[in-house]
């Protein structure tokens, strides 16, 4: 079986073949069309609820733009600590030279993604939505912080990739938006391939030293992290910016609505299956 080092060598080659310049890759129009879809309606966070049904077509399309701005923002906000963590791991003694070499490309590509998402949000939304996470100190079992870091990487990238694929291939959506999602997906496919194998190796290395209680604690953190990550898709400020009243109540309604819950289960299927197959989760959580 291929090791993470061997895979890193292949991915480095692929990254070098597909190198691109974020500053010249896209043509940014002055303004966006008001009547376009920016996200397929089925991906809109309140789709399938009475609140969505009550909107007229213009309001739905407007909401799709702010939902996309929120999506790009939350991916960007997830990529910030990711880059920080990857840089911290460059030239680490526990990594091979091949892995460090690939991490340079990983960082480079994530930086470009932040540039393109930031550009879109500043131009057309007027801001990047801030994240509300506050980092608090906690205790870890040996290696748990490392495993948790790569789990976070996988969650932000796998959930984001589900949206990238859906938006990228949906002909109803604005062409620039489809292109941004396609470009992101191509790079992310490599990051995910690396992340899956690297995290599997990491977990195997450290899991043996954890007690059953520590493993249970880790798994329950991971379920909570998945739920919290989904919570970012239901942003009260985004609803308000799209002209909808009572954003906080709308979030609570959507989070507990069966249609939205079914969407979250569907969109999480790939990452949850990976976590279960590799022992990071014991069973499918309700998200």
């Amino acid at each position: 079986m291929e090791t993470a080092s061997e895979l890193a060598t292949r991915l480095t080659r692929a990254s070098r073949k597909k190198v691109w310049d974020v500053h010249s890759a896209f043509t940014w129009p002055e303004t966006l069309a008001q009547d376009a879809w920016y996200m397929p309606p089925e991906l809109i966070s309140i789709y399938g609820t009475a609140a969505y049904d009550a909107l007229d077509d213009t309001q739905r399309r407007k909401l799709s733009l702010y939902e996309l701005g929120n999506f790009f923002s939350l991916v960007l906000q997830g990529e910030r600590p990711l880059v920080q963590g990857l840089v911290h791991r460059l030239y680490s003694k526990s990594n091979t030279r091949e892995i460090t070499e690939y991490l340079h490309h990983f960082v480079d590509e994530e930086n470009k993604h932040m540039v393109m998402f930031g550009e879109f949000c500043h131009r057309y939304i007027g801001k990047v939505y801030p994240e509300k996470k506050i980092s608090l100190p906690r205790e870890y079992a040996k290696g748990e912080e490392e495993v948790a870091f790569f789990c976070k990487v996988m969650v932000v990238e796998e959930l984001g990739d589900y949206y990238n694929l859906e938006i990228g291939r949906d002909e109803r959506c604005d062409p620039l938006v489809r292109e941004l999602n396609k470009v992101h997906h191509v790079d992310e496919a490599r990051h995910l391939a690396f992340g899956r194998l690297y995290l599997t190796e990491l977990f195997e290395r450290y899991r043996a030293g954890w007690t059953d209680e520590q493993l249970a604690g880790f798994r329950s953190w991971l379920v909570e992290y998945l739920r919290a990550s989904w919570g970012d898709y239901y942003n009260p400020t985004m609803y308000r910016d799209a002209g909808l009243a009572d954003g906080y109540e709308l979030r609570q309604m959507a989070l507990s609505h069966p249609a939205a819950a079914a969407h979250r289960q569907r969109a999480s299927a790939k990452i949850v299956t990976y976590f279960i197959q590799n022992g990071l989760l014991a069973e499918e959580p309700r998200l």
Binding site: I134, D232, G247
Partner: protein
Amino acid sequence: MMRRMEEAQARNKLRDWILKHAKTPPGPAFSDQTPLLEGGILSSLDIVEFVLFIESLRGEDVDVDDIDPRVFTSIDTLHAAFFAPA
């Protein structure tokens, strides 16, 4: 514009939210001084939801970059940080 709220009302709303979301039930001695995080009543992953709830009470966004994590110590510190008159 921040929405003003009576002190007792704000404290009650914070208490109700914490009781509803507590990972570890706080028990009968729960007070406005009970440590929320070190006591395991709330986890760091609850903070995002809690901040959004606080924003909905205040009617105004909270800039988390300006927040010292110690404001989540207890209901007393939360009230002082988010609801006490400036």
